[in-house]
């Protein structure tokens, strides 16, 4: 283990600060809360003492595990009312014309499905669909790549289930093509 020294900790902070904040803002959907939890995560890292000198792998796993627990605790303690994003303001489908209303409704339904997912699923989907490598996602989750794929598929299925539920409730049904 490396000793707890401030210079080493500052290097760790600079290296992983954005990654941890990115994870937390996705999980909480709120900037202020994400900033607070990021600070708390690094505060605990400092108190933890030190990490093995292994190119940061251990430190990254530890930081994300702590961030995940802090975010899950905050979620459980009733901070889930916050809107993670504006559901009713999707970008307008282009071009305006054929079945514009239907396409707009589809977009709102998918957003609603995304919003109803648990934050862990939502965070995973946001990371994946914003082109983050699956290896990085797996490392942040602290799992193997295969497991990350499985979780991703489960999250996708849950989103699809929510979406279908919305569609049936609205009397519409989108044809779902599995990739």
């Amino acid at each position: 283990l490396i000793p707890r020294d401030d210079a080493r900790f500052e290097a760790l902070f600079k290296r992983f600060h954005h990654d941890v904040f990115r994870f937390l803002i996705r999980y909480t959907g709120q900037r202020q809360q994400a900033e607070d939890l990021t600070e708390e995560t690094f505060l605990r890292a400092y108190k933890y003492g030190g990490f093995p000198d292994d190119e940061g792998d251990h430190a990254r796993a530890w930081l994300f595990k702590t961030a995940r627990r802090l975010a899950a605790d905050a979620y459980r303690r009733g901070k889930r009312e916050a809107e993670p994003f504006d559901m009713n303001d999707p970008s307008f489908p282009e071009p305006v014309g054929d079945d514009f209303a239907g396409r707009l409704a589809d977009k709102i339904d998918v957003r609603r499905a995304l919003r109803r997912l648990n934050p862990a699923d939502r965070t995973l989907l946001w990371a994946y669909y914003n082109a983050e490598p699956i290896e990085q996602i797996a490392a942040e989750l602290g799992v193997r790549v295969n497991t990350a794929h499985k979780r991703l598929n489960r999250a996708r299925l849950r989103a699809e289930r929510q979406y279908r539920r919305n569609n049936h409730a609205n009397g519409r049904l989108l044809r779902v093509r599995r990739s």
């Binding site: 600060h17 600070e39 708390e40 999707p90 970008s91 998918v110 093509r177």
Partner: protein, 388 residues
């Protein structure tokens, strides 16, 4: 109809891209100055060591001097975490005395009720477990004898019977302030509280009280040692060391806080629970549910129905758990990273309650197998209005 030619995948990709908070957020400055200033302030004001509960709890478990662990004979008081609150020695003695009495009575009942014939050999068709894996400083209990009726029969028929038996019961719901669960556990490797490294089997009596805000209390007692290969639960004799931990609101990680009595809903809850950790299986989820909840008849029936609907569960016939209680055993085998494990559940045939959960290592690269990894005996579950 809406845009029927667009796939859900495309819509989801589009929605995820548009709504990702990270894409629309300006990253905060990665300047550690603010954090270091906070640390300095905490250090100067002496708050650092009391910063947050997780740190306190870890320290309690790590340092014998701080952990609330006392011999009952000592003229000591047991401090709680909250300043100004204390438990008197008298109440601790009374609590521990009552607990020891109940445990002694239950063990006596179990002892009187069980067959004192020599313990049967390990399960038919399986190699004998090594009582002490090479290099381990702890003793390992024997494998529970299991039957293999007609080879490996699916567990569906017996689970359907158990679900019907559970549904036919009418347990009154637990309406007390605290849920109280009592277990006896053993697991390979390090334990909390730590057990002696003497090559003997050290089971732990674990009592947990928790309430709706996920706060509560846990008392663990190391039970008297037993010889390796033992098949019966450890008895309790006299006053013992115990470790008491108090959890603040939100500190206890309760598995599926509100389990449904509707099988489809419970299946969804379990699915989400399994999603949170890769090493969980349906069987361990069932064991975790009983570990935290005094499940009512409807919840038990729903859980048994969920197990019934799952693939891969095997009927292991009638089994007697380590407390001498007869029950119906089922198992699930899983393999990961070259290591095969078997999770076993033993249910009470009359009530559908879980009596025993066992995990057995079937094979592992470079190690002895089969060997018991852990067991949990479900001793009691109910509710109380006040903490001990």
């Amino acid at each position: 109809m809406g845009d029927t030619d667009r796939s859900f995948e495309e819509l989801l990709r589009e929605a995820a891209a548009e709504t990702d908070p990270w894409r629309h957020a300006t990253p905060p400055s990665a300047d550690p100055a603010r954090l270091m200033a906070r640390l300095t302030r905490e250090r100067e004001s002496g708050q650092e060591t009391l910063a947050e509960p997780a740190i306190i709890r870890r320290r309690m478990l790590a340092e014998p001097a701080i952990i609330r662990r006392r011999m009952l004979a000592e003229p000591a008081i047991i401090p709680r975490r909250m300043p100004g609150r204390f438990v008197s020695r008298r109440s601790v003695t009374a609590m521990a005395g009552a607990f020891a009495g109940v445990l002694a009575a239950s063990v006596c009942i179990v002892w009187l009720g069980r067959d004192h014939a020599p313990a049967p050999a390990a399960e038919v068709g399986a190699p004998t477990a090594s009582a002490r894996p090479s290099g381990a400083g702890y003793g390992v209990p024997g494998l529970l004898p299991l039957q293999f009726p007609q080879g490996t029969a699916p567990a569906r028929p017996v689970l359907a019977t158990l679900a019907r038996a559970a549904a036919a019961r009418s347990d009154p719901p637990v309406s007390a302030k605290y849920i109280a669960i009592r277990l006896q556990t053993w697991s390979a490797g390090p334990t909390q509280p730590s057990t002696p490294d003497d090559g003997l089997v050290h089971a732990i009596d674990e009592r947990t009280w928790w309430t709706s805000d996920f706060s509560g209390e846990q008392i663990k007692t190391v039970l008297p040692p037993q010889s390796p290969g033992v098949l019966v639960a450890s008895p309790s004799v006299g006053p013992q060391d115990f470790a008491q931990v108090v959890y603040g609101p939100g500190d206890l990680k309760v598995a599926i806080p509100d389990p449904s009595a509707q099988a489809p809903i419970l299946a969804g809850q379990i699915d989400a629970y399994l999603h949170d950790a890769a090493d969980r299986t349906l069987v361990t989820a069932a064991a975790d549910l009983f570990r935290w909840h005094p499940l009512g008849a409807g919840q038990r029936a729903a859980l048994l129905q969920v197990l019934h609907d799952a693939d891969g569960l095997i009927d292991r016939g009638e089994a007697t758990d380590r407390a001498g209680r007869p029950g119906q055993a089922i198992s699930l085998d899983t393999t990961a990273d070259g290591t095969s494990t078997r999770d076993i559940l033993v249910f009470d045939r009359g009530t559908g309650r879980l009596l025993d959960y066992e995990r057995v290592l079937l094979s592992r690269p470079g190690g002895s197998a089969p060997a018991l990894v852990a067991y949990t005996l479900y001793v009691a579950a109910g509710g109380v209005d006040t903490l001990p």
